[in-house]
Amino acid sequence: MNRQFISLKHRCIVFMLLVVFLYPACRPKTVPFAVVREADFRVGPVDLPLNDEGKKTIEDFLLKGGDNRRSDLVDPGAPKAYADLFVLLSDSAFLRRSMFRKEGEIGKISKPLEQWFEKSIVYSLIDSQNKRPLIITPISLADKNGKYWWVFYMPQPPGNLEKDPKIIRVLVTVTPAKDIDRY
């Protein structure tokens, strides 16, 4: 047996394994963030609990596919798809930050919201409407259809800061889609 040959072969294998496993770790990553888009492509903030007027405002925006300039329908299924979400957002008892989070997990959404949103909560929000980032970070949830961010706001200082603050407003904004069902 040629010991030198085997040793070189093993070194190559180890090197390749290192490359395969270390390369993803070395690639630069960015923190996930939500972006509030231009006025034509957002609705709100709408006050919570949701009333009929607020519901219609958001519903019309979704029916138009997230474009306020439009007078046509794009997503006729929106009212039905979000009906139960609107019920939740009308319920004061639900509108607490703790109710939006999975128990014990600051980064995951609670079960009632899983029907509409991706599991991870995003706490970084870029909104150039504001002078600076908000002190009490909104909860931003990515819509499962890949088209919207739903941004849920809490009271800001110097308002009454509760340990489990109320969710008091929602804004819906368009995001570049990752995928669209083509046919």
Partner: protein, 358 residues
């Protein structure tokens, strides 16, 4: 309002009526709503254009047409008529511009650069379309634009009116079994690599796939056979068309029948009707007609089993607005002319025009 629109259009070019359909069953009688449909443009950048034997026709005419749309919009607004412009997809031709096919979850730098190159080359046209607040539809050649934030607002489908839809707008490729079943990579490859060799006046794209499968990709590339299969049949046969007299503008005065040149080409009519029926079933609507492009064959096709002009049973109309690439020819014409079509809709009347300027 149709007449007023023609006043503006005939200032800049000859206008031919390709097809007209007037019927209350369209259920689109709003007197304050005028809609214009711009079909396939297939814009690419100037350098890439030089490599193709066919490209977007008469961009100068197109730009002047958009200027007249703006002028008409102002005039219409003064009479409380709202004008909406739609571009029906294949606005940019990414398959001809970029040599790589994108998977659904890829948004590459190459895509952004390709789209940006076209935008810079055609910025006058794009600026005017945006000034018109044009509503864009995804086509098959520019579907990947959904990755780019600047193209937010582009949609797969529209339905109108908002209160209770009686019509849909989409590109039309969704009705093609070939488009649905052929892999995107093959379509992109075929158009990008073989497209520069194709002359207008060629055979059906449907045969292309069979030929490539038979010969294998490498051999197909080297053979001349592929040239015959890239482009849809042109010149598109418009059958009978009527030149609009700019001094009269009135096509009701015996120059055309009430429903003029309703086409015997029924491509996609059945599929579009089935689509409408499925949507009606799901949402409790009553869609009566659809507006598409994609085929590059301007026509209005109607399914009217009763034939009595009143009965709603089975009624459906398909308004195919043609394109701005390739050529078209009509009865009595010696030579084809560059396709330059638009669709218009107002007060239960749909029309398709062919524009021409030397």
């Amino acid at each position: 309002m149709h007449r007023k629109f023609l006043e503006y259009l005939t200032k800049i070019c000859d206008v031919y009526l390709v097809s007209r359909f007037m019927d209350e069953r369209l259920n689109y009688s709003a007197q304050n709503d005028f809609r214009i449909f711009i079909p396939d443009l297939h814009l690419i950048d100037d350098e890439r254009e030089k490599e193709y034997k066919y490209t977007t026709n008469n961009p100068g005419l197109f730009l002047d047409m958009l200027t007249e749309f703006l002028n008409f919009k102002e005039a219409a607004s003064a009479e409380s008529v709202n004008m909406t412009v739609y571009q029906l997809g294949d606005f940019l031709d990414l398959w001809r511009e970029i040599s790589v096919s994108l998977s659904p979850n890829t948004a590459t730098q190459k895509l952004c650069e390709g789209a940006q190159k076209i935008q810079e080359a055609k910025q006058a046209i794009i600026a005017k379309l945006r000034e018109l607040d044009t509503q864009f539809v995804f086509g098959n050649h520019d579907f990947d634009l959904f990755h780019i934030p600047d193209f937010v607002g582009t949609e797969l489908r529209y339905y109108f009116p908002f209160e209770k839809a009686s019509a849909f707008i989409l590109h039309g490729d969704v009705f093609s079994l070939l488009e649905k079943n052929m892999p995107v990579s093959l379509k992109n490859f075929g158009v990008n690599i073989f497209g520069p060799f194709v002359k207008p006046g060629t055979k059906d794209l449907g045969e292309f796939r069979k030929e490539v499968v038979k010969l294998g990709l490498e051999q197909a590339k080297q053979s001349n056979q592929f040239q015959n299969y890239i482009q849809l049949p042109t010149p598109a046969d418009l059958s009978n068309i009527i030149r609009i007299d700019p001094d009269k503008l009135d096509i009701d005065a015996g120059a055309a029948e009430d429903n003029f040149n309703i086409n015997t080409d029924l491509t996609y009519l059945k599929e579009a009707g089935e689509f409408a029926a499925a949507v009606n079933n799901e949402h409790g609507w009553d869609l009566r007609f659809g507006v598409i492009s994609h085929t590059h064959r301007a026509r209005i096709a109607v399914h009217d089993p009763s034939g009595d002009g009143h009965n709603m049973e089975g009624f459906f109309a398909l308004i195919d607005c043609g394109g701005w690439v390739g050529n078209c020819i009509a009865a009595g014409m010696e030579n084809p002319m560059p396709s330059a079509q638009i669709g218009v809709l107002y007060n239960n009347e749909a029309r398709i025009y062919q524009l021409f300027r030397q």
